[in-house]
Amino acid sequence: MIEFQHVSFAYEKDRPVLKDVSFRIEKGEAVGLIGANGAGKSTVMKLLLGLAEGEGRILVDGTEVRRDTLPEIRRKLGFVLQNSDNQMFMPTVYEDMVFAPLNYGLSREEADARADAVLKRLHLEDLKNRYNHKISGGEKRMAAIATVLAMEPEAVLMDEPTSALDPYNRRIVINTVRELEMTKLITSHDLDMILDTCGRVILLSEGRVAAEGPAGEILRDRTLLESNRMELPLSLAGRPY
């Protein structure tokens, strides 16, 4: 469903951020994109969404990401931003949720029905008519996920979905992500979350794919993780006491 072929990218000349990155994600797979701060995880997502242009080829469902294919590509991908404040721009949660469906030509009734279905599924009915500037961080993250699901994308991309959440809200987000059956690409350095939600992991280090494989294997490899500025997930670390 998603394929990177020899992709390189630099924001500024002479400071490459991605160097010859290649990987494939099959339909229905849940893949974790891990790596230390500044490894280039968010950049991978930007390129995939056509928010930045690099060298090499990026394919979504066999269609190359190019300026003329962007509307088609973006319609298939739902992106949950790292900072939910920047994701929600309408006054209320409900208005944010129907924004995409209406832009894509659904009628008000159809868009309403979609928003209601998603809210019900995520048990967020209470949020519907709340103002975006008056809900908590955890609620806002869930609302951001809801706005993306209301687009009914074929794949969801999530950039650090558990960052800045307390344990309770983090758990809610993890459980929600686990229940989504579409293709998922999730970046994070919260490796416990990746272990809980992803079957496969791609490890990015200084702009290159440093390792790739089943989550259970990669996330258990202490040497590999530590040489790339990460630590074993707590749940696998084995408690010394």
């Binding site: 973006r74 319609r75 992106f79 006054p91 924004f99 832009n103 030509g105 103002y131």
Partner: protein, 267 residues
């Protein structure tokens, strides 16, 4: 909450006011927009000495406050930052224009004083009218109306983004002033030596966030059209409101109500 956070909160509250329900909220955005523009143009067109002619123009905003259920206090509270600036415009007139225009007993009123008051009132009236428009019309509906009136996409998008980004900018400003004041205890405001870097940072940070917000709109199918705004039909009532109000404004502009009343009473 510091001053900035409060300002930000207030801005978001405009959306809440605009989401209210009243006969004024229910009018078509285009009708309200055009009426407001006519009101502002007529108000500005009064002669600078025509204080008596200008004063009755206050009736329209007062009426709107009543019908829409918007509080006058809220209006002046939210405008408290711009209001003094607008009022300051005419402040020097009394010093330049000393021709006596009016003799009230022993008190002689100079042309400068009259023109100062006229200018100030014009400013206040126009601000009130704009505030009322924003407080009774969601920004997206307003943008949709502008598009209907064939205003170019670029301009409408700019308006929408400015409205949204002012919020982002004040938010960044709030975070930054807080961070600053935590490290400069007992200091009032921001020391002048830090202004340069402070403003630079603010611009960069709000630009980054604005960029993300705009991306988020693009990723959800935004193509500078307002499919999502409330598209209600333009009804006969809307046209009637627009025409009636505009005619009254023009009437007030051209007929000297005060003199008319005065002369009937005297007669």
């Amino acid at each position: 909450m510091n001053k900035m956070q409060r300002a930000m909160h207030e801005l978001s509250e405009m959306d809440e006011l605009a989401a209210g329900s009243s006969p004024v909220h229910a009018l078509h955005p285009a009708a309200k927009l055009i009426t407001t523009v006519v009101y502002i143009l007529v108000t500005l067109s009064f002669d600078k000495y025509d204080l008596g002619g200008l004063v009755p123009m206050v009736l329209w905003p007062v009426m709107l406050f009543q019908i829409s259920g918007t509080s006058v206090k809220t209006c002046f509270y939210k405008l408290r930052i711009v209001l003094p600036l607008v009022m300051a415009v005419g402040l020097f007139n009394p010093f330049f224009d000393k021709t006596v225009l009016l003799q009230l007993g022993s008190l002689s009123v100079s042309g400068g004083v009259v023109s100062m008051l006229t200018l100030m009132l014009k400013g206040v009236f126009c601000l009130m009218a704009s505030f009322l428009l924003m407080a009774t019309t969601p920004i997206d509906s307003l943008c949709a109306a502008l598009r209907k009136l064939r205003v170019p996409k670029l301009i409408v998008t700019l308006l929408l983004l400015t409205y949204r980004y002012v919020g982002v900018m004040t938010e960044e400003l709030a975070v930054m002033t807080e961070a600053y004041s935590l490290r400069a205890p007992g200091q009032k405001g921001i020391h002048i030596s830090a202004w340069g870097s402070f403003l630079g940072q603010l611009l960069l940070r709000s630009m980054d966030r604005a960029q993300e917000l705009y991306s988020s709109m693009l990723l959800r199918g935004y193509r500078q059209e307002f499919y999502y705004a409330d598209h209600r039909a333009f009804r006969r009532g809307d046209a009637l409101y627009m025409l009636a109000c505009s005619s009254v404004f023009l009437l007030l502009r051209n007929v000297r109500i005060a003199e008319l009343l005065g002369s009937t009473i005297v007669r």
